[in-house]
Every structure is written in C-alpha cells, then in structure tokens.
C-alpha cells in the first residue's frame, strides 16, 4: 500500500529529470559534446583549457596537443617530472602527488574543466573526479593512440590529434620499410625487452614498449607469448629465457642495479646469447621505454630505434630505392 504512491512519485521524478535533461540538451546543443570513455560518458562544454592529468601518458599526450595542464601527478623517476616533458610544462603547474593517490582536494581547488585519468589507476575515484569536473578515463595504460584521440576529442583538438597520429603511422611505415630493406632476411627480428633491477631482472611480455615494437613489426621469441605483464628472474641460470635476435635493455643509474647488470652480463650464459654474439644488445632509455606512455615518448623511442639500426642517415642505396 505504501509502495504505490512511492513508485508513482518515482515515476514523476524520472519524467521530470528526463524533461529537464532534454531542455538542457537543446539549450547547449552547439557547445555540449559527449565523449565516450572507458568508464562512461563525459559531457564537455566548449573547449576545456584548465586540464588536470592524473597519469604520465595523459600528461605526455596533453603536451603533444599543445595543451599545458594546470595540474599533473609526479613522475616516478626524475621527480617531479621527466626531463623530456619538463620544458614543455607551464611554469606554474601544480603537482598533485603520486599517480596512485593524487590529492583530490588540490584537484578540486584547481577548478579544472577537464580531468584525464586511467582505468587501472582511477576506477574507484572516478565518481568523485566526475563530480569535480568532466572526466575522461583511458582504457589501458599504454595505448597512447587511444589516449591521444580521447584527449583530442575532449578538448576539441581532434584535427591536431589526427595529424599527430598520421605522422606517427607514416614514421612507423617508414621504419618498417627501411628495416626490411636494411636487414633483408634478418627481418622481421625477434626481440626481448629486459629491465635490470636492484635484485632481479624483468622480462616484459607486455607494456608500452612491446605495444610499439609490435606495431613496428618486431616479433617475440618463442615462449614470450605468455599472458600477463612478464616475469621476474632471479637466477642467472634463467638467462637463456632472454634470448632473441636483439635485446633492448633499460635500467636506472643506481649502484645496486649497475652491480647486478655487471654480474649478469659477465656471465658466460649471457655471452652465449644469440643477441650478444651478434652484438645486438641495445641500451635504451628507461623512461621512454617503460614510463612515458604517450605519443611524445613513442616518437622518441622510435628515434632511438632509428639510431640503433643505423637507419637515420638513409645512406643505404637499397633503403633509398625501396622507401
């Protein structure tokens, strides 16, 4: 008996809400955009310029689009911000703490008109973020193309985002073509991505670098198709698991890491790896390869690859003819 009037009230309420929703929609028909993202839909008015980025890939993408964020989270290394991004950041940018637990009050205090987060980090804070400002959430950490398009769409810079991506795809095609011409039968190469830590070695099956290497046409050695992010190795006896045509190595400049690297790379099992015997072990930048996760980092990573494979000069005749 009590339920009846209650449900009627609810119906009325819903109808009222729908009506008001329609009204506001028609009122802002020109300026209101709906942006689909990993956790729902953001309604964005105009072109947001006070942007808060809550993970490294978002900061990178925003800077690539020429947008200076008003608030960013601290980087993991080279604190407070990676050097490759530091110059581009506005001087008065506010640091909001760590990516895992950004300072929400400070976010609200900045009165942003757009917040950018990632699902793996901010899924549980999303409702709160969405109340502070329209929020778009990236689906995966390292899919930098999707992030760029999402941000372009949210800020009304889709054209710029498309252009950046087109440039990227052009560079990818160029690299593939030149690499194929230069390496001949040795292409496509099977490569490993390896990181030395203080007390163990990581072999990555997945992540930002692998995502790009896949696009460039690099392949994985056998046994590295496993699910998950990768493995941690502690015994040098596992060295053969790293073997590939080429190995990309990154590590921090820390005494313990350098010592472990020395211990592993002087071991005869390391010396017998195919990539080592061929002289195809490349030291790469730890930030670009594992932490940047945006289009700027991707382009710099590709620059490194051009250098390592000697493709930057374009001197080879075969390469010149083919590409």
């Amino acid at each position: 008996m009590i339920l009846m009037p209650l449900s009627r009230t609810c119906c009325r309420l819903v109808a009222l809400m729908l009506l008001s929703g329609c009204l506001t929609m028609t009122a802002h028909a020109e300026t209101l955009r709906r942006v689909e993202h990993a956790l729902g839909e953001a309604r964005i008015e105009g072109e947001p310029r006070r942007i808060v980025t809550l993970y490294q890939g978002a900061t990178d993408s925003a800077l690539a689009l020429g947008l200076g964020p008003v608030g960013v989270v601290e980087s993991w290394l080279e604190r407070p911000m990676y050097r490759y991004l530091r110059d581009e950041l506005p001087a008065e940018v506010r640091y909001l703490g760590l990516e895992t637990q950004p300072d929400l009050e400070a976010v609200a205090g900045l009165a942003p008109d757009l917040i950018v987060g990632a699902r793996y980090r901010h899924a549980d804070v999303y409702p709160l973020l969405a109340r502070i400002a329209p929020t778009v959430i990236a689906g995966t950490a390292y899919d930098f193309e999707a992030m760029l398009m999402l941000l372009g769409e949210a800020t009304g810079r889709e054209a710029e985002a498309r252009e950046l991506l087109a440039d990227w795809h052009e560079r990818v095609a160029d690299f593939r073509c030149r690499a194929a011409a230069r390496l001949g039968d040795a292409w496509p190469q099977r490569v490993s991505v390896v990181s030395f830590r203080g007390d163990h070695v990581r072999l990555y099956y997945d992540g930002f670098a692998r995502h790009i290497l896949d696009q460039l046409g690099f392949q994985r050695p056998e046994g590295q198709e496993g699910a998950g992010w990768g493995v941690k190795l502690i015994s040098r006896e596992s060295l053969p698991a790293l073997d590939a045509d080429a190995i990309f190595v990154f590590m921090r400049d820390d005494p313990a890491v350098v010592e472990l690297h020395r211990e592993w790379t002087t071991h005869p099992l390391w010396q017998r790896l195919e990539a080592v015997e061929q002289g195809q072990v490349y030291r790469v930048d730890p930030i670009l390869w594992s932490m940047g996760s945006g289009i700027l980092a991707a382009n710099r990573l590709l620059d490194e690859l051009y250098v390592h494979y000697g493709l930057h000069d374009g001197a080879s005749a075969a390469e010149y003819m083919a590409c």
């Binding site: 993991w76 290394l77 760590l98 830590r197 203080g198 007390d199 163990h200 072999l203 046994g223 493995v231 941690k232 190795l233 502690i234 015994s235 040098r236 006896e237 596992s238 053969p240 698991a241 921090r252 820390d254 005494p255 313990a256 890491v257 010592e259 211990e263 071991h267 005869p268 099992l269 017998r272």
Partner: protein
C-alpha cells in the same frame, strides 16, 4: 618414535641421506638440463669451457650451500628458541628477529642507499640482533628469567613496531619497494658464495657452542624447581643458547631474507621422531632443516618457469598443513 640409540642413529643416518638426496636434486635439477655425469666432473675435473660445469659451479652450488646452511641454522635456532622459552610456537620469525632485519634493511636502503647484498648482510644482522635484544628485554620477569608468554607477546609487539616502520618507508620510497620485494619474500638464489664466506665463522662458532652446550640444554626442559633441586644453575646456559639463536637466525635472515616456518616446523618433526634429548634433536634439526629448504628451493624452480616461487613462500605453503596438524593435537610441548 625411535627409542634405542641404535634406532636413533639409524634415524640420523636416514636424515643425512634425505638431506644429501635433496642437495643432489638441488644441484641436478633446474632450467638447464645437466647430465648426471657432469655433476661429479664439474667439481673433480672442472672444464672452464663447459656450460653445465659453469652453471653448477656459479649458480647451483652457491644456492645449494646457502639453502643447506640457512635451513640447518633456522631449524636449530627454532629448536633452541622453543626450549629456551618453553613455548611450542617460538621461532625466529615469530619473535621479531625477521622483522628487525627487514626494518633495518629497508632503512639502510632508503636512507643510506645501501643496496648491495654484501652490505645488506651486516645491516640485517644488526637488525636481527636489535630485535632479539628488545624481545629479551620485554620478556624478562621481575626475577630476571624469561617468561614464555611475555616473550611471545613481546615478539609480536616488536614485530609490529618494525614492520610498520618498514611499511611506511616502503610506501614513500616506491623504488625501494620494488627492489626489496623479493628479499622480503625470502630467496636463496642470485647470491654468490662470496656472501656466505664472511658469515661462515659465525655459523661455525655457533655450531661449536651448540655442541658444547648440548648436555646442559637438556636441563632447560625440566621444571625450574627440579633443576634447583639437582643443584644446577641454568642462567649461563640460557645466555649462551640465546646467543647461538641470535647468531644463527640473524645470519640466516641476512643471507636469505624472510623464510618463515623452517624454524617452527622442523623442531616439531624432529621431536616427534627422536624425543626431547638435545643430543639427538639438534643434529636431527640440522639435517632435516637443510633437507626441507633444499627441497623447497628445488620445487620452487618448477612451479612456473622461467620464474621462481620465492622460497619463503614455498616453505610456508609446505609447512602450514603440518603445523595445523600439530596445533590440533592435544599436547604441544617444546
């Protein structure tokens, strides 16, 4: 249970065989297949060019040695600890020694940037010593003796104190967290023999002291009243045995990180077989402890290659069922 000295002697022999088998398995089994023949050749007539000889000498031998030494030490330390506190639950990990080592290692690596295993060994040892002294201080009764219940309570308090400090630091210093996680989980791999050598005098000294004390230790099982009646004094024995425990457990934690359970289970297993006489219990613990850790470490290589399960996790997983079986039985005497 074995009763006659003859049966006990045979039991010890069997334990030695088991430990030896586990040791050989630890040398023979791993990611790289090695022919049984090269097992002996690698040590008798080493060939610098042979890969399997090299793996045996640089990887598997240090690992097996560390596992054996640490396993034996932890088990003996556990047995002594249980006798000293008359508490069936006592073990180095329960009494804050592990946590002390952990906290000191975390502090050293985040504030003083000490990360190399050779330095950390000493830091961990110092931490273990500090924690043990704190627990002993808290466990003292008015009269000066150690009260079993107080020692256990003190151990828990000290553990919480050190663990919380370490946790806070690890959360602030994310990089430190990543490079210590494996040590925290306990591991005997990836260390060379050069780490064991400086600690060897400590292990040997502790072992010698154990051998000298073994008869007097049996007095500690008896009631204080009975001991007094026999006209014996146990204060010095307790002190020396406590020293042995700290040295053995501290060095083990420093070498292999947080390996729980060996110190708790093995003494119970050994007592179930050999009774409570320390002349049999201590050698039995050493053999069985070494065997268990060698076996856990060997097994840890095969659960999900090329990755290894941390050996501390492996021993806890192997040990829990046995512990629960013990805890369900009525009598739990140290």
């Amino acid at each position: 249970m074995l009763i006659t000295p003859m049966a006990k002697g045979l039991g010890l022999l069997l334990g030695a065989m088991l430990a030896l088998t586990a040791g050989v398995a630890s040398l023979a089994l791993g990611a790289t297949e090695i022919a049984p023949a090269s097992l002996f050749k690698a040590f008798i007539t080493p060939d610098p060019g042979s890969m399997s000889h090299l793996i045996l000498r640089t990887e598997r031998l240090p690992r097996a040695v560390i596992a054996a030494v640490v396993g034996a030490s932890l088990a003996v330390a556990g047995a002594l600890m249980q006798t000293l506190t008359r508490n069936a639950l006592a073990a180095p990990s329960v009494l804050g020694i592990n946590a002390g080592a952990m906290c000191f290692v975390v502090v050293a690596s985040s504030f003083f940037a000490l990360r190399s295993p050779l330095e950390l060994v000493w830091v961990a040892f110092l931490g273990a010593l500090t924690a043990a002294l704190l627990v002993a201080l808290l466990g003292r009764e008015r009269g000066g003796g150690l009260s079993p219940m107080r020692v256990v309570l003190g151990g828990v308090a000290v553990t919480a104190l050190f663990v919380s400090l370490a946790q806070g630091l690890l959360i602030i210093d994310q990089e430190g967290f990543e490079s210590l996680l494996l040590w925290l989980a306990g591991s005997v791999a990836g260390r060379g023999l050069e780490i064991v050598t400086p600690l060897l005098p400590f292990f040997l000294g502790a072992a010698a002291l154990c051998a000298l004390l073994v008869r007097q230790l049996n007095l500690l099982i008896l009631d204080d009243e009975v001991v007094k009646g026999l006209g014996q004094r146990t204060g010095r024995v307790r002190l020396l045995a406590g020293l042995v425990v700290i040295v053995l457990a501290g060095c083990s934690v420093a070498l292999a990180g947080m390996i729980g359970f060996v110190g708790l289970i093995v003494p119970h297993m050994v007592r179930a077989m050999f009774g409570r006489d320390h002349r049999w219990v201590l050698p039995g613990c050493a053999l069985l402890g070494a065997g268990l850790l060698l076996a856990a470490d060997t097994l840890a290589r095969f659960l999900m290659p090329p990755q290894e399960v941390p050996v501390g996790v492996m021993t806890a997983l192997l040990g829990t069922p046995f512990f629960l079986h013990l805890a369900r039985r009525r009598s739990l005497t140290p």
